[in-house]
Symmetry: D2
Subunit: 344 residues, 4 copies
């Protein structure tokens, strides 16, 4: 069964960076953003960012566009990164007033999420971190962050809060940095409606195997949401899913399926210089292609492969799965002696 695909809505709007402050393209109306999503047939859902698209004032309009397009509201991402209030942090800010404001604001966003029938609030606390040595009281920040999220999750027990980790950017170092740090936060919070958003590019950037992160988050029952993109491992380049690391992304899709993930997979590409419909559409084609490969593979064969842990065989199987044909022949060469790592 195919996984449900969505996209962050704002990726279809203008994209900027610290140099091209006015953006590489031009601003797009809310209507235009929704229309763009409908041009990619693989997508059936959207994620909305607070200030940029979903506010108390825009709720009615958003509901109309959802109804009009038939797109599902997948998650709401409160703006904890694009407004000066959060410039030095939100849930873990040094300033107590800012910390309270973060809780209040996310509480409001949970109400708006409910108002558009969206079951998930994705918390990306991009400004919660630090830039310099001797700039943070790490233990205090951990507690502040956990307390803030707990307050929000207690206030809206019917909403699922998905914490999105990322090692850096916009801070040089984030508090919510890795899959394991996220798990520790969720355990410290101790509420059933708090889980984790795994952005596959953030995992690559953290030198995680994204497949391993899926496996361990699912082992804890914590994988709540997934973001899709690709990069060159050292930065959150937010490139087209599949364009650089199809092998590891194939394994990632395999583990989503192996662990019966049935949530949304949502594109978080940032096509600075590309037409968003084409770039995200191409990511969707890559995802469906890798998913089809996993679907068509022999579950038992792959399970046996993992049990053996044989590097050459694993690579041969990947080659056969991706390129077609010939994967088995590596075994013929190595048929004599000692080939199976886990052998008697």
């Amino acid at each position: 069964m195919a996984l449900k695909l969505a996209s962050i809505l704002g990726s279809f709007g203008n994209r900027s960076d610290r140099y091209m402050t006015g953006g590489y393209a031009s601003d797009v109306s809310l209507e235009g953003l929704f229309d763009s999503v409908t041009r990619i047939p693989e997508l059936s859902g959207v994620e909305l960012v607070g200030t940029w698209q979903l506010t108390a004032d825009s709720v009615a309009e958003v509901r109309e566009h959802l109804a009009r397009t038939g797109l599902q509201p997948v998650s709401v991402i409160p703006d904890l990164f694009a407004t000066q209030t959060w410039g030095k942090g939100s849930f873990a800010a040094h300033d107590a007033g800012v910390r309270r404001a973060a809780v209040d604001y996310v509480n409001e966003m949970a109400v708006l999420a409910r108002a558009i029938d969206c079951p998930c609030v994705c918390i990306w606390p991009g400004q919660d971190g630090y830039d310099y040595p001797f700039q943070a009281d790490y233990a205090q920040a951990f507690d502040w962050f956990a307390e803030g999220i707990r307050a929000c999750a207690e206030a809206a027990p019917d909403v699922r809060f998905a914490l999105e980790y990322k090692p850096k950017e916009p801070r040089n170092r984030s508090f919510l940095s890795t899959a394991d740090r996220s798990t520790l936060f969720v355990k410290a919070i101790g509420l059933p409606n708090v889980g984790v958003t795994l952005d596959v590019g953030h995992a690559l950037e953290a030198y995680e195997s994204a497949a391993e992160s899926v496996a361990l988050l699912q082992r804890e029952g914590l994988l709540a949401h997934v973001h899709l993109n690709d990069n060159y491992r050292l930065w959150d380049d937010d490139m087209i899913f599949g364009s650089v690391h199809p092998v590891e992304l194939l394994e990632f899709v395999y583990w989503l399926r192996r662990t019966s993930y049935d949530g949304w997979c949502s594109f978080d590409q940032y096509p600075y210089r590309e037409d968003p419909v084409r770039a995200i559409g191409e990511g969707a084609k890559w995802f469906r292609a890798l998913e089809a490969i996993v679907e068509a593979s022999d579950d038992d064969e792959l399970d046996q492969l993992l049990r053996r842990g044989d590097a050459a065989e694993a690579t041969a199987v990947v080659r056969r799965l991706l390129l077609g044909g010939g994967g088995a022949s590596v075994d013929a060469i190595g048929a004599v002696g000692g080939r199976v790592e886990g052998g008697a």
Copy 2:
């Protein structure tokens, strides 16, 4: 009060790599290793590696050398990385026989640790990991590893087991990869005599702030042992402590003291081409110098600094602490308006 300094004993012996397989120097007798340590007055303890120095056969000799030199046995590091049995893993190996052998072997090492009055067994499972996509069942490996350690820790409740994490090498990717992964393992194991070894170079390599790792491990009461070295962030270069990153290492020492760490700090330098006594001796001088700076600093001032989270002020304080003089003057410039992050 000064922290207790030790060194891994083997660092004073020959050092090799995959090219210089015969080593950059020559082999050194057990007696010679101990003698070398005594030449560095800052050191009062040693760590011993299983096959290389501590075996059932060598226990008596090791005891003699400890008595002769007055050095404390700080930790015993079972050899889970240097014998072909563990070539593809130990506690998390695909082969069930190897997994059992790892438990048996570490149990024996705990007995030997007791025999030399050493309170700590430092587990560095260097071969437990994977190299290729589709080579590991990550969830299974997590359980195997936790089960194995639990068995050892239950068998020797009087011994403290300190799990040493490292993102990679000798495997391309380790299961016990980061401080947070270690915490998750310890929580899964659920025994009071299991903690974590923080190797500061491994933290740097994992893009951790080593200071943050101290803070969070201590928050959980898990910091059991510390290894000292430095590197260029991308690999475990095992360089002289302080030689590259004195700022972050100053913050690291500060957090050891702030959290009242009273265990051992043990050098894990690997001086490929250097005289070990000079290289490790120089690391000890750097450590004592940074420690003296922390000792001489004003606790309240640094505490206030962390509360404010002001980047320019933090950098000015670091400059004053390291270089002496002038650190305060940054404040004069910025005295007008909005300087304190957590202000108001």
Copy 3:
């Protein structure tokens, strides 16, 4: 003799990123920017960016501010990165019209540089690069870039063109990526008024030793301009100079002096969340402190140090230079045998 310090003027204005598109602070008038620079006594020069500060319309006003403040115009940085025309490249764009426009525009900027008595045009071709595999004809791009710069340099032989390299950002991969690539470009261009801008953070990001880059650029007579900042090696964090890597920056300053660099050293910090005057002022204090250490050191001693290539001795000398006292004692330990790498 102290090196001349300047700053990029725009660093004192608003700073934004792709999330905080409106900026972490607020916009500052040209007058305000100049006034800010004057608050840092160490600075005597400024760099101006095309569209942001220096255009045909603003020349007169810029001249007034320079006269008023007494600041020297150090370099002019044409805007090849902040206007949509250059969104997919400038000198090496696929579009021939864009390539011609880049030459025309830089020619105009050379005229404006002359009009404000600025001897240097710093070319940072941030958009010249590529993001994806199979997106560039690398050999063609090399030639286009060299031809474009040659045309500009021929048109203004009295102006020095300083090519600023950077491995990535805003493109995922830049054509002008490293010090060595820059040297190859300059050799291909073959004109005496083309040199290189070394941004020390870009060097760190490229896993260069910035000191080595100085040495090799000066060996070719190509070091034309210097930018100052610091980072965590993996990204152009544009942090306060000295805040993270004082050891390597000390060596960098040493090599500037050893090779008799007499050009400008200009701050290219980007203080997202900090007061620019305080952050850049603190960088200036770090620079002057490291420079004073180099000035006070014994040239012959450091020269001998480099001749010996002894790691422990080098680290001890760094420790003494930075922290004061004690550096020599490492020699005492190692006085017996084989300490000098280059020994007989």
Copy 4:
């Protein structure tokens, strides 16, 4: 026409690291090494390392094995890394005697290369570099290295010397670090029989696009030899070619063909824990598979692709080339407006 494939002979022997000093397998006789190569039908050549396989004493035996197996001698790699003499450098060592010894030794190796009818000496100066700040006189080292190579190349004008770059390991930082540094060295040496060995994993580790490195080295006529493997970008993991980065390796093979490279492509995998015949055999299958994809592609289509520089189209073409089918459909989506970067 298929490219000629070879392998470094020693990869079929024992493999060790600094922990598993005795190796993950067992030693293999020279006869056994040659026999292993013959089990991989794609291979027709071998590279021999000095001390490990080719010495004055072993020349006759090597000639016999070459004759017996019909394998071509592709290159000779002098041992400048595995003997203590070179522990702190060879051509650029601080010690003048060592520098002379390096020249003498490589001269001898050129004679031995001739004696086995091998046209190429591959110089990998692994120990020429530095580990610490203030440990090297970079300008001096550059000259020493160039002088040494020049002396060797002048002494054997009929032999091609191929300089193999690598950013680090075994030194923390190498002098011969990147493709561009190599080009600068070759230009400084100024002899026609000196070129460059491109190890594709070393390029990945240096954040080079390997395809770009091929393009630029070929632009200068300098690509003399190629080594094949793969890694996770941060270290020379020497993994199975194709196992991690098939997209970039496809582009790499494309550029070899586009620039009419007709030299050898030689596997430099280091299968620590794998059966070498299976691991290198699998790499050969990946290479032939990617080569077949390039062969079957439409040259004009790919040339047009590079001229347009369209990211989504490039990714779609890669998807079609690797996975088969569907690549064109991205164009359908984006048919309206502004899709071609280089468009009129």
